[in-house]
Assembly symmetry: C2
DNA sequence: CGGACTTTCTTGAATGATTCAAGAACGCGG
DNA sequence: CCGCGTTCTTGAATCATTCAAGAAAGTCCG
């Protein structure tokens, strides 16, 4: 579980103090892409022992603010975190099981960044969320929610 | 204020029973695009008198399921509803004040619907959220966040 | 290397949107 | 006008996230 040896480097590079909880949280996000806060808390506790959920929430906020992790939150889902930052990629979310997968922008660069009518907004990011069914849920007979 | 006379028609067209709460909620969504649940509750009570929040939540779910309204929920925001459905449009969200505006897809049809690598997902919708600063917040020096 | 200052972690409780449950009221088809 | 089934009311519960205050730890400096 020496997950990422450069976790410390990353923290220092972001001018953040290096504490055990922070290293563990960052490593957990690297190891479990798209994990929700609760999963991260579990992963952190598995490697460090008891850690307060408050500390994890606090660390996640600090890491997000520092740009080391990205927070995503599809409608109807709790907050999730991922370590891929800086590159322009989006997500596919399964309507049935909530699974999330990364998707690189189809049109390379940042095409969607140019809205037809921006209403005077100064747009700095375009976030795309694809909705559908994951492979597992497509083959399996629709679970509940029939009409 | 009988906002939209065809509210009943819309409800019947969706095979939904026409009740006063439903008509009021639907009218409220038409009148207040991108309003959150609490605002809708307020608007409904302004026209009908006391109505339980539970009823509004229930109605909003029914209307959403029927496709009469669309539910949107940008990260860090509560659920919001809008009446524009069926057309392929997206949203710009102000990072400062949370204001939301409609934006028609820059590339006309549904370009983004084709992800570069869909990971086997059966994609049926591409939702785009633009993030930036609204005109008011761009000109005004960052308003601390007091409220 | 040690001390002091600042940031971060712990503990415990609160907030707030949304949902669940059970019974009463109402809309709709007959 | 009646009865059935859906929908509204009331009241409480859930759960992610946040707030607050004090203890502990990290970093900088001499």
């Amino acid at each position: 579980m020496h997950t990422s040896p450069d976790v410390e480097t990353a923290l220092r590079g972001a001018s953040l103090r290096v504490t055990r909880p922070r290293a563990a949280v960052l490593a957990a996000v690297y190891d479990h892409p798209h994990a929700d806060t609760d999963s991260i808390i579990g992963a952190v506790r598995a490697s460090l022992g008891e850690v307060s959920h408050q500390a994890v929430y606090d660390v996640l906020r600090a890491l997000t603010a520092a740009g080391l992790v990205r927070r995503i939150q599809p409608s109807g889902s709790v907050a999730r975190y991922e370590s891929r930052v800086g590159d322009n990629h989006h997500h596919v979310v399964c309507r049935s099981c909530g699974a999330i997968a990364d998707v690189d922008c189809a049109v390379a660069s940042t095409p969607c960044l140019t809205a037809s009518d921006d209403h005077g907004f100064a747009i700095d990011e375009a976030e795309v969320t694809y909705w559908g069914q994951c492979p597992a849920c497509s083959t399996t007979p629709a679970p509940a929610r029939s009409s």
